[in-house]
Amino acid sequence: MKRADIGVGIGLIILATWVFWYSSAYREKEIYVYGPNFFPQILSILMGVCGLILIVRAVKGKVLPKTDRIDIQGFFRMVIAIGICIGYLYLMQVIGFAMGTSVFLFVLMTFLGQQGLIKRVMSSIAASLIVWAIFRYFLVIPLPTGLFDFTF
């Protein structure tokens, strides 16, 4: 955690300096002394101080022990799942919400290792149709229709 704390501390100081500098540009646009720059600049000062304290504490060895570690395999699984989700966001705009969602759920369930083809097909179609029906008919909230006219 020591290196992470030092890294975050340095990042915070850089962010705080940038916020202070960037928000000072708002000063001229405001007739009051306590203009749009006032609050972000107070925050940036506090953030910089916190970053500094974090670094000092880390250097002194006052860091929290790590209670949980990222599982590397699991992490890559998560990254791929996000990739599948991004693909789904594009797919939904082409083939429509309900169909896109069914495909997304089926692919993700398969990727996560769910056994049983029928279980996967049924649960992905059921979940997408239920939510689609609630939004379409009950809440009357428009969802992406894709290239098809029948709003599926």
Partner: protein, 506 residues
């Protein structure tokens, strides 16, 4: 308190079957979300807010309150059956709930938890109904300095929700406060930190941020650990506790419910602290404290009455002053705003048509919780067994829909995903997401009222100390922060000592 308005509100809420339906849906969804380990009541409310967009404000809020009450109760089911609390507030329940389950009395423990939750919930709801208008009356006298002090008072809660490091909690909150400065400045109209993006002119939208912090982040953790987490199966038999058993625990239930409501009403405490305090007090005042922890029904009744009492208590500062009592009420506060209602004293002056049905609905929700809890406990217990590999993709999909539905914007979905990834890493490095949520709620209130106050006083900061209510809030805030800090430090020292002793024995 206007009894005429309250009885009229009861009539309005009760006579419309749709209101029953929405509370029922909320309670059921809340229990399911609460019972599933890894899904908290906060996440449940966040995910289900989009489903209230098309509803009338009262119906939407009734549903969300149902989720809140159901979620807090539902956590006890998995705590009792599989020793994994569905929500943090059920952590105290498993101390006696799980040993009861091991003795083959899991069903009875759930039954007692349901009855105690009902008693706690109804106590909290009644106290909320009668106390809130009085507090709101005081709130009507507030000016910008008082509201700023109130925001500071609310932000003081960061100490209790920071997790293991206060410094990291403060950093999270500062990050959240910085996020609230994105978009048009409400006082001058100057766009800040938008970098030319039209989507950011209105600021970072609350719901996508919320879903990112509590929805996506949890989904990512679940996906990462999906092959590591053990699969535990649950089963439940007889549900109803005997009248004699309820009568034996009644004193504990009433005391815990009152304590829970009081604790819940203090910003920064919340349902989990209420549950532990109620459990501790029940054990302290018991004639047989040595039996606590071995599996007795009183040990289940006390924390459940306490945490459900806290639901009503936590609503008091949220509704009357616009300061959330805990993370779930912070989400509810956001939901009220989305429905065009600004929580605070003015709500009690301008929107009595909403406030009184909320009171009536909260009381009604407790009866529905009792009915749903007792009749459906077996089904909810079976829900815990649903395969994570099916459930996680469905929650992932609900996160996508939830973040999209607010503005029908794919930009919001992307933003929510990014916030989710940040929150996922934050958790690993000891930065809690809850302070960000609190900052998102209280940030605009703090900034606008700080600047307004300084403009009124021509830059003199003494304005915050010369006004009695404002000074009182600041003093209480400092007092609460200091006492909370030492309480948490003491608890952490005890925990560290216990770990060291355990290592020594090993």
């Amino acid at each position: 308190m206007d009894f005429g308005l309250l009885s009229h509100a009861f009539g309005t809420v009760m006579l419309n079957p749709l209101n029953f339906f929405f509370v029922f849906i909320g309670i059921t969804a809340g229990i399911i979300v609460g019972a599933l380990p890894g899904l908290t009541a906060t996440m449940g409310c966040a995910l289900l807010i989009p489903f209230t967009f098309g509803l009338a404000p009262v119906q939407g809020l009734l549903m969300l309150m149902g989720i809140f009450c159901g979620g807090i109760y539902g956590g006890s089911i998995s705590g009792i059956l599989i020793r994994t609390p569905g929500t943090p507030s059920a952590a105290a329940t498993l101390l006696d709930g799980y040993p009861l389950s091991q003795k083959g009395m899991g069903g009875k423990a759930i039954g007692m938890s349901t009855v105690a939750s009902f008693c706690g919930g109804i106590t909290g709801a009644i106290i909320m109904t009668f106390l809130s208008p009085q507090i709101a009356k005081i709130g009507l006298r507030f000016g910008p300095p008082e509201f700023f002090a109130l925001a500071i008072f609310g932000l003081g809660m960061i100490i209790t929700i920071s997790g293991r490091s206060l410094l990291k909690g403060i950093i999270s909150a500062l990050f959240g406060l910085l996020i609230t400065t994105i978009g048009f400045d409400p006082l001058s109209g100057v766009p800040r930190f938008t970098f030319g993006s039209q989507d950011l002119l209105g600021g970072v939208t609350f719901i996508p941020a919320l879903i990112g912090l509590f929805g996506y982040a949890q989904v990512f953790r679940n996906i990462e650990k999906i092959l590591i987490l053990p699969v535990v199966k649950s089963k439940v038999e007889n549900i109803l506790p005997r009248l004699k058993e309820i009568r034996a625990s009644l004193k504990t239930i009433i005391k815990s419910a009152l304590m829970g409501t009081f604790i819940g009403s203090i910003p920064g405490t919340g349902c989990d602290i209420a549950a532990f305090v109620a459990y501790g007090e029940a054990k302290r005042s018991s004639k047989h404290p040595e039996r606590f922890g071995t599996g007795i029904l009183e040990g289940v009744a006390a924390p459940e009455a306490g945490n459900n009492g806290a639901t009503g208590g936590a609503m008091i500062p949220m509704l009357t002053l616009g300061v959330p009592g805990d993370a779930v009420t912070a989400v509810l506060l956001g939901a009220l705003t989305i429905h065009g209602l600004q929580p605070g004293p003015l709500l009690f002056r301008d929107h009595l048509d909403v406030i009184y049905p909320i009171f009536a609905g909260m009381i009604m929700a407790q009866f529905i919780l009792l009915a749903v809890g007792l009749s459906g406990a077996r089904i909810f217990a079976r829900m815990i067994n649903v395969d994570r590999k099916i459930l996680t993709p469905i929650i992932f999909f609900l996160c996508v829909v939830g973040s999209y539905a607010m503005r029908f914007s794919f930009f919001d979905v992307g933003l929510s995903l990014i916030i989710g990834v940040i929150a996922y890493f934050m958790e690993y490095y000891g930065y809690s997401a809850s302070p960000i949520l609190l900052a998102l709620i209280l940030g605009p209130m703090a900034e606008q009222n700080l600047r307004r106050s300084l403009i009124i006083s021509h830059g003199d900061p003494l304005i915050f100390l010369t006004r009695p209510i404002c000074a009182a809030f600041l003093i209480i805030a400092i007092f609460v922060m200091i006492t909370s800090y030492y309480r948490i430090k003491k608890a952490m020292d005890r925990e560290a000592q216990a770990i060291a002793e355990k290592e020594e024995i090993d």
